[in-house]
Every structure is written in C-alpha cells, then in structure tokens.
C-alpha cells in the first residue's frame, strides 16, 4: 500500500527494528533520497531509545498561521507596490519629460497622496507582523517550518522575480522607444532595487532554513 509519507514510514519501521540513524541515513542515500528529505524524515522522530519512536511536533497548517502570514505578505505587497509608485510619482514631478504628455501634475500628485496614505497604513503593519512572526519563531522553532510561511515566501519570491524580469523587459522596450531619459532609468532602478531586496531577503530566509534542517 502506498502511504502518504513513504520515507517517514520507513524511518519509523527502521527505528522500531533498532537500526541506527546512521544506517538509516546510509540506506536512504543509497536509494537516491536527497539530504533534505532524509533530514526531514529523521527529524520527525525524537532522538532516544523509547519504543515506539516518539514523533516530533510538526508544523501544521493552522488558521492562525494563515491569518498572520496572509496579512504579512499582503502588507508587504502593498508596501512594495506603493513605495515604487510613490518614488515614480516624485520622479514624474521632479524630472518632467517633455516627450511625455500623459503625466499631468495633478495626476502625479493624486497618485502620490494615495501612495503616502497606503504606506502609512501598510508599512507599520508589515514591520510589526514581521517582528511578531520572528518572535514566534524564536520561541518555537517549529513555526519556522510553517507550510503557510513556506508557500507564501515562495510566492513572494515568484512575484518579485516576475517583477524584476518584467522591469528588465520594460527597460529594453523603453530604450528602443527612445524613452531612455534619466527619469526612466531612475524609475527602472527603483523597481530593481525594491524587488531584488525582497527577493534576496526572502530567498536567504527560505534557503537558510533548508540548509539548517
């Protein structure tokens, strides 16, 4: 019968049969399992000789986690988008482009007020939620492996990567269109800085965690 977690089942059986962790590791590696899978399977059981093996507390998909991380990553998205929009609007007014008639001053001022208002709300929420989850992780290491956290982090990485690639495309397109003004370059730079910073930070966050376990 196919179980949901064949390695976990195997590790449990092997521990019950008094095989050492070293042996189990060896056997799994020979069968082609990756280090990450092996570590995860072995760490699912508490070290010690108690029989049957005691399962370790596992991260679970809880409504609480979904709430916290959904707020956190929504706040992050709004903060990032409006930070970029605000800097773009400032650049629209500070460096007017004679070839660009579409950006009326009043439109830029309105967009700026929206962005400022959004940032005043979303940035503190994001920072506060980040420190809140950080404290939770420091209290209980299991929270780090929360599946919601993992998924939303990867979605964030995906979105920032897309934004960055899109930005690169826009830059090339603008260059071909003859829009390669200082303002345009600065706008693209802002998008690149914000998305790359988010990408680098959260990549290190997930990858660092994978290396640990």
């Amino acid at each position: 019968m196919q179980t949901k977690d064949p390695v976990g089942q195997f590790v449990r059986d092997a521990l019950l049969a008094d095989r050492s962790r070293q042996d189990i590791r060896q056997a799994l590696r020979q069968a082609g399992w990756s280090n990450r899978d092996i570590n995860e399977a072995l760490e699912a059981f508490s070290e010690g000789d108690f029989k049957p093996p005691i399962p370790m507390p596992r991260p679970q998909l809880t409504a609480h986690d979904v709430f916290i991380y959904a707020i956190l990553f929504t706040a992050l998205t709004f903060t990032a988008i409006h930070l970029i929009a605000l800097v773009h609007a400032i650049l629209d007014i500070a460096l007017p482009d004679p070839a660009d008639h579409a950006t009326l001053e009043i439109g830029a001022a309105r967009r700026m007020r929206w962005s400022i208002a959004t940032l005043i709300v979303s940035a503190p929420v994001y920072l506060w939620m980040s420190s809140h989850t950080r404290q939770r992780i420091e209290l209980h290491e299991t929270h780090r492996r929360s599946p919601v956290r993992k998924w939303l982090t990867y979605i964030t990485l995906f979105v920032s990567a897309l934004t960055f690639l899109g930005d690169a495309t826009v830059l090339i397109f603008g260059f071909l269109q003859g829009e390669a003004t200082l303002r345009f370059v600065l706008k693209a730079t802002v998008v690149a800085i914000v998305t790359l910073a988010i990408f680098a930070f959260y990549l290190q966050d997930v990858e660092g965690r994978n290396n640990e376990t």
């Binding site: 007014i93 009326l104 700026m112 007020r113 940035a123």
Partner: protein, 144 residues
C-alpha cells in the same frame, strides 16, 4: 546582520519617500488651496462658455451689466449655470465681472497660484472665444 539591513533599509526608504513626496506636492493645506484654485478656474471656464452662447447667430445676445443667475438665464435663451459657479467657494464672494464693450467682457478671480490651476486643469478653455491670463486671474472673452 542581513535582517537588520533589510528592515532598516526598507524603513529608511519608506520614510524618505514619504518626506520627499510631501515636500514635492505640499501638505494638506496646499492641496486645499490648489483645489479651490481649480474650482475658480473651472468656474471661469463655465462662465465664459455660458457667455459664448453657442446659439448666438439666432439669439443675438447682449452682454449683461452684472452677472446674476437671472441675467444669465435671460442672456442666451434660458441657458443656465449652477448657482455656485458665480461665487468664489473659499471666500463666498462673487467673481468680478466687467462688461468692457458691447461684445467683450472680463471675469476675474483671486488665485493663490493661477498658473498651477491652469496647468492642473484637464480641460482646455476651448473654443469659446475667451482666454485666461494667469497673471491677472481674468478670463477675457468676446461674444459674436
């Protein structure tokens, strides 16, 4: 530490952007002044388009001595404008209107920054034989 760098950098960038933004567009007081200026400019445009009287070939309108709602209704076959178009909404005083000749007029308002109001307006003054002078804050126009 990377974490501190990320959050510190983010906070610094957000705060700097907000401060720069407010410096660039001005605070709520300036926004309110600009809004009143735009209203003045729109009012002057509405008045001159009412005075232009697109039906002038048939109606042969004669410019009124003073700008009142009644005069405007009588001026061009019952064409009306809204009651608050004739007054400055910030101060509550009517705009100064003067009939220069039989067929030319001027309507003036006191702006904080007339040029900005003109720049920020989505609609141009259009084909109503009138032009706005941001230095005086007056629309001068010709009918017929």
């Amino acid at each position: 530490m990377k974490r501190r760098l990320f959050f510190g950098g983010a906070t610094a960038m957000i705060v700097a952007a907000i401060i720069f933004g407010i410096i660039t567009i001005g605070g709520p007081r300036e926004a309110r002044r600009d809004a009143f200026d735009r209203q003045r400019y729109d009012d002057l445009k509405q008045i001159s388009s009412a005075l232009f009287c697109s039906n002038w070939r048939i109606l042969q309108p004669v410019l009124p001595d003073a700008l009142t709602l009644e005069n405007i209704r009588a001026y061009c076959g019952g064409i009306q404008i809204d009651a608050d178009v004739l007054v400055d909404n910030e101060t509550g005083t009517p705009y100064t209107y003067s009939r220069i000749t039989e067929s030319t007029y001027a309507v003036c308002a006191t702006f904080h920054d007339a040029e900005k109001a003109m720049r920020q307006s989505y609609q141009r003054l259009g084909q109503v034989n009138a032009s706005f002078n941001p230095e005086t804050g007056c629309v001068t126009g010709r009918v017929r």
